[in-house]
């Protein structure tokens, strides 16, 4: 079998990227990273709210990198890659979310009552 000949033109595109796409993705990611970092280090809100802020910023950066770096939605196999990704994310949510709910529940029910009492007195608790 003969080798593919080297031509000066690219035989086909191997990626849907352009310089502006990568650059904008990079800048947005840096901004989102710094935003999350500063939010936490300056303690800009209560813990509960901070968790929500960090989670949101992470999700947005995830989507940014998915689109700007990984070019999801364009190029070959676009449709099936999105289906695969959505399925994987569903499984992640079910398994991780389910596990957290289950483990929290198990830890609570399987802790002896006098330990509950002790933890509550110490200011903590399950």
């Amino acid at each position: 079998m003969s080798r593919v000949s080297h031509t000066s033109k690219p035989l086909e595109q191997h990626s849907s990227g352009t310089l502006s796409l990568y650059l904008s993705g990079f800048i947005m990611s840096v901004v989102l990273t710094l935003a999350a970092y500063l939010a936490v280090t300056t303690h800009v809100a209560s813990t509960g709210v901070l968790i929500a802020i960090v989670a949101m910023l992470a999700t947005v950066q995830f989507l940014v990198q998915l689109f700007y770096f990984l070019h999801i939605g364009s190029g070959r196999n676009a449709r099936w890659k999105i289906i695969a990704l959505l399925s994987a994310l569903s499984v992640v949510f079910i398994v991780v979310g389910g596990s957290l709910w289950i483990m929290y529940n198990l830890n609570y029910h399987m802790t002896p009552s006098d330990i509950h009492k002790y933890l509550n007195e110490q200011g903590g608790g399950i």
Partner: protein, 660 residues
């Protein structure tokens, strides 16, 4: 000197490692002798070159499929031997008698039995049939990644060899087929058994994961022109669903096994009973994998039944769309029920209730499938071939066993029967009548396609009946015993309980099953010996409906000289009805994947590394792993992985002048 020996051999001491107990020692010696016999036979008949060229270095999906079936079949014998030992033990170990094996050996026997049956028999049969039939049914020449396919097989085999080596060297795990901590931690299982378990599953698991990716890409990217998703055979849909489950569930197993290995080897505290470990997390994770796993096993079996029932009712499958929807409901729901395996671990009623309801829901799509098969049979022109007998046994037994499952989906009831023999009987009903009968039916149905001659129908029917009757005799007593309070994994019990007669009946049942297996072996031998009587191999011995029957038996190496174009479901059936004449063929050169020893090498090197891990022979771990990686890189960097079959050669193969 001592230090040096320790570095080379780790914690392996050959004199200590070989089994002492008579039964185990006998089995080990038997295995070694069989090994020598096989090597001797290969040498005497000068078959090494043939073995290397035709089988060990093949990347052809049909050859790989046959090898999977061979390994699965051998492991079935090993698993049944374990079952026989357990039945014998439980029938005789009453009161002052203590049966045929020690307590610790019994623990190893049931651990090995479960591990082998699930990971090497069921998975092996499944991957074997998928490899053989999937590309043919979608009109393709091979799977998406032939080299990776071979690697998957050899990783599977490496895991299998490791389990069997444990019998001879050091002993297997005594912690059950899922090795729950804290028992499986180094504090309570300080030997090598659990490590053998971890690493054989880890290697085989990687093989399965790669196969999952391979078959998904095959289905989505290699269907012949015209075969839209809704025109695919139902077996292909079932494989699509099962491989989706593989791809999403097996990484959980990989992670969990790794964490247990870290605990045992490096003293981490994931699941230990101190130091901040949480053993319940292991149970949670392992079943998040474990429940999808059982659907991975059963979905392709359901796919086989769809093909078998339609063919032998001479009717198209009833309710195609609802069957597809049912598969995907099962896939989705199988990720939402895993807690039902540990209702009794201590979660609150709210959590238990949610998972209990989800568990009941998952029985609905399965029920839809059963009704669709029965509706397919209704008003069909039925031939009661042995695949149909496997199917009928399945319908009857699986429905009953499934109802037992719905019963246990109610947490309050499960609290009474969890880990009793009622549970054991339920899941064996599911796996034997569902998974095993399905794959036996598939084997019988597709055997003539793969090998070019039919199996003896008469012996096959006797074998099926032995399995069905034997199963009922073996497991009905276990349902009863479970309700009477008998727990699983007992190696001895008090005579006053009155359980012994039921255990004896169960033992007889396994005996009948063994007769069935003996008949299956006989069937194979007789059919091989008498195959010349069948004359020229038929392309289509059953009057089938799908594309695999359009090829010769066995198919040529490239499956289809001309890739078919499809315009309907059951395309081959439609072609036969309208007697469409295919146009005069214009052959094009065909690219075929080359043979390579890389898959074999990677599998065996991975196994060597795993063996090193078990015995703390760190040099072996490093060398084995590094070598496997180097082989992988070298193979992937090869630009010439295919050879070309010329038009002249194709014409000669098609004309029957040349065998390929």
């Amino acid at each position: 000197m001592n230090n040096f020996m320790q570095m080379i051999f780790g914690r392996l001491q050959l004199t200590e490692a070989f089994p002492r107990e008579p039964v185990t020692a006998f089995a080990a010696v038997g295995m070694i002798m069989t090994g020598f016999l096989v090597i001797g036979a290969l040498t005497y008949f000068k078959k090494w070159r043939w073995l290397w060229k035709e089988w060990l270095t093949t990347t052809n999906h049909k050859r790989i499929g046959v090898m999977y079936l061979a390994v699965a079949g051998i492991m079935l014998v090993r698993g049944l031997a374990d079952a026989l030992m357990m039945r014998t033990q439980q029938a005789t170990s009453v009161g002052s008698a203590h049966g045929i094996v020690s307590t610790d050996t019994f623990q190893q026997v049931f651990s090995a039995h479960g591990t082998i049956m699930i990971f090497f028999v069921a998975m092996g049969f499944m991957f074997g049939l998928i490899n053989l039939i999937l590309p043919l049914q979608i009109g393709s020449r091979d799977v998406a990644f032939p080299f990776m396919n071979a690697t998957s097989f050899w990783l599977f085999t490496g895991g299998m060899i490791l389990v069997n080596v444990s019998l001879m060297l050091g002993g297997f795990s005594s912690a059950g087929w899922l090795a729950y901590p804290p028992l499986s931690e180094s504090q309570y299982s300080p030997g090598v058994g659990v490590d053998y378990w971890i690493w054989s599953l880890q290697i085989a698991g990687i093989g399965s994961l790669l196969s999952g990716v391979n078959f998904l890409v095959t289905i989505l990217k290699m269907r012949c022109p015209g075969m839209t998703l809704m025109k695919m055979p139902m077996f292909v849909w079932s494989v699509f669903g099962a491989m989706t489950l593989v791809v999403f569930a097996f990484p959980i197993l990989t992670a969990t096994l790794a964490m247990l290995a870290l605990d045992r080897t490096f003293g981490t505290h994931f699941f230990t009973s101190g130091g901040g470990g949480n053993a319940m997390m292991y149970v949670n994770l392992i079943w998040a994998w474990g429940h999808p796993e059982v659907y991975i096993l059963v979905l392709p079996a359901f796919g086989v039944f769809s093909e078998v029932v339609a063919t032998f009712s001479r009717k198209r499958l009833f309710g195609y769309t609802s069957m597809v929807v049912a598969i995907w409901l099962i896939v989705l729901l199988s990720f939402t029920v895993w807690l039902h395996h540990f209702f009794t671990m201590g979660a609150g009623a709210d959590v238990n209730a949610v998972f209990g309801i989800a568990t009941m829901l998952i029985s609905i799509p399965t029920g839809v499938k059963i009704f669709n098969w029965l509706f397919t049979m209704y008003r069909g022109r039925i031939r009661f071939t042995s695949p149909m007998i496997w199917f009928l046994g399945f319908v009857f037994l699986f429905t009953l066993g499934g109802v037992a499952g719905v019963l246990m989906a109610v947490p309050a009831i499960d609290f009474q029967v969890h880990n009793s023999l009622f549970l054991v009987a339920h899941f064996h009903t599911m796996i034997i009548s569902g998974v095993l009968f399905g794959y036996f039916a598939g084997l019988t149905y597709w055997f003539p396609k793969v090998f070019g001659f039919r199996l003896s129908e008469k012996i096959g029917r006797y074998a099926a009946w032995c399995w069905i009757v034997g199963f009922v005799v073996a497991f009905t007593p276990l349902y009863i015993l479970g309700l009477m309070g008998a727990t699983r994994r007992l190696d001895h019990y008090s005579a006053s309980l009155g359980w012994q007669p039921l255990f004896i009946v169960a033992g007889i049942g396994v005996g009948i099953i063994c007769v069935g297996v003996g008949l299956q072996v006989l069937q194979l031998l007789v059919s091989i010996i008498l195959r010349a009587r069948q004359g020229k191999p038929l392309n289509d011995p059953w009057d089938g409906r799908t594309l695999e029957w359009a090829t010769t038996s066995p198919p040529p190496v490239y499956n289809f000289a001309i890739i078919p174009t499809v315009t309907s479901r059951d395309e081959f059936w439609e072609q036969k009805q309208t007697k469409r004449r295919p146009a005069k063929p214009m052959y094009q050169p065909i690219m075929l994947p080359k043979n390579t020893p890389a898959g074999l090498l990677i599998g065996m090197l991975a196994m060597a590394a795993a063996f090193g891990f078990v015995w703390h022979m760190w040099w072996l771990v490093v060398i084995g792993a590094l070598s496997a990686i180097i082989v992988l890189i070298a193979q992937s960097a090869r630009d010439e992985q295919e050879t070309e079959l010329s038009v002249e050669t194709i014409a000669r193969i098609e004309a029957g002048e040349k065998y390929a």
